[in-house]
Symmetry: C2
């Protein structure tokens, strides 16, 4: 595990009293200063910043303006928040290729990161309308619903919700699927992912998801939805992944379909 180094946050010195004359926007000035500190290495990844009140004082401003600067840096994926715990410096994002079989732990390892998963809940349930639509089954069909959180260096970065056709995987819940569903599919059911249909969009976090990710409700997030097919072209499961938006970037290579040019 990598622990957070306890480096002293330097005192702020704005060259002048940056009163808003003309177009100087205060919170942008503040952002610049913080970014400089990060880029210069004074503020290492995962470093906690001082309290908002102290920061506001150091920058000779109010908490509201200070928070505007911090929130903007959050949107830019330079800082992240832990709900009611404070502000931290973002580490590098994980590169996530949707066209490779999803195995969080090895993906993290390959990039020199420490990753692990935690089970929130796994149950056999009857398909709700939404789940039924995703899996293309009638409502009230037996399905598994698995919820997990995945961590990078002790930080929860993604909430994963899986819906799985129960008929394809009898007694699935008896196995240890927490680190990797695909490994269990392959080992016990001789099923492997072959094709995936995915969608990436931006959203924000609320409720249970925000809680589990220790995110302030309303934090920006990236939603990755996937529908997966096995080697026989059968739809086997789907998953909804809510990523802290600073923790991920999607990266892939595609062969282009010539037909789609016309129109």
């Amino acid at each position: 595990m990598i622990s957070i180094p306890l480096i002293k946050w330097p005192v702020y010195k704005l060259g002048q009293n940056d009163f808003i004359k003309g177009k100087t926007v205060q919170y942008l000035k503040i952002k610049e200063t913080i970014v400089e500190q990060i880029d210069s290495g004074l503020l290492p990844a995962r470093q906690k910043l001082p309290s908002e009140r102290k920061l506001a004082e150091a920058f000779s401003t109010t908490r509201v303006t200070m928070r505007a600067a911090l929130s903007s840096l959050e949107a830019e994926a330079r800082l992240y928040r832990e709900d009611r715990r404070g502000w931290f410096v973002c580490p590098e994002p994980l590169r996530y290729d949707p066209s490779s079989t999803f195995n969080f732990m090895s993906m993290a390892n390959n990039q020199g990161r420490a990753g692990f998963s935690k089970l929130i809940e796994a149950r056999k349930v009857l398909a709700t309308k939404q789940a039924a639509a995703l899996l293309q089954v009638p409502m009230l069909t037996d399905i598994y619903h698995i919820k997990r959180v995945r961590f990078l260096e002790d930080r929860p970065v993604v909430y994963v919700s899986n819906f799985i056709k129960a008929a394809h995987f009898p007694d699935l819940l008896d196995h240890d699927f927490t680190p990797s569903l695909t490994d269990v599919y392959l080992k016990y059911y001789a099923v492997r992912y072959q094709t995936t249909h995915y969608r990436v969009s931006t959203t924000c976090l609320f409720g249970e998801i925000a809680q589990v990710l220790r995110a302030t409700p309303g934090s920006p997030a990236m939603l990755v939805e996937r529908i997966n097919y096995d080697q026989n072209g059968l739809l086997i499961d789907c998953d909804l992944e809510y990523w802290r938006h600073d923790a991920i970037c999607i990266e892939s290579t595609a062969q282009l379909n010539a037909e789609s040019t016309l129109g």
Copy 2:
């Protein structure tokens, strides 16, 4: 062109004075109400909302809290802003498949949308460090730099910056590449995209990009970076696309690479 319907914004009626007792969070209550109005169809896509002051009064709150609610709806891609012009209801996002040849106009048309492009600037320049790295050429190599904005129904949704190896395309700038670069590549140079390497991440908009997109500086955005290769496997160009985050979702199908499972 689709024009914005001038529907009267309904008067707000919160069931009770929603004073903050216990855990009732005011701005969430406001969000709910607005979302209901959108989902019920009372507020059609592209509808302009009343001024922040009027909204704040209607909800019996201050502008600061009102803006918290509006900003959160912006993060959720339910509302968007035009800088200093006000708040509007988001239309459906465009579905964008990076594995199909990028041709904005036809993509829009296929989805029943009206799209067009506008040239900002096109010049032959010497590669900067960043551009040289992207194109894998020495610094100061001749390249084209093209900047465009693309619109959906009169709304600017994406700022596209292209870097192109000049050696591959003599006199490229003499052609009309504004609607589609790929069409010009194919028609005049017999070059077609074959492979693309792409990355998707979230960021926010500032400076020229925000201006061109009529976005408030700091608005959330999706950044799509692509490096494109022709039918001979040669790197020919790259592009940086800054999307208003509510205007797009990435959607694609991928065949999975089995090797990437191990680890």
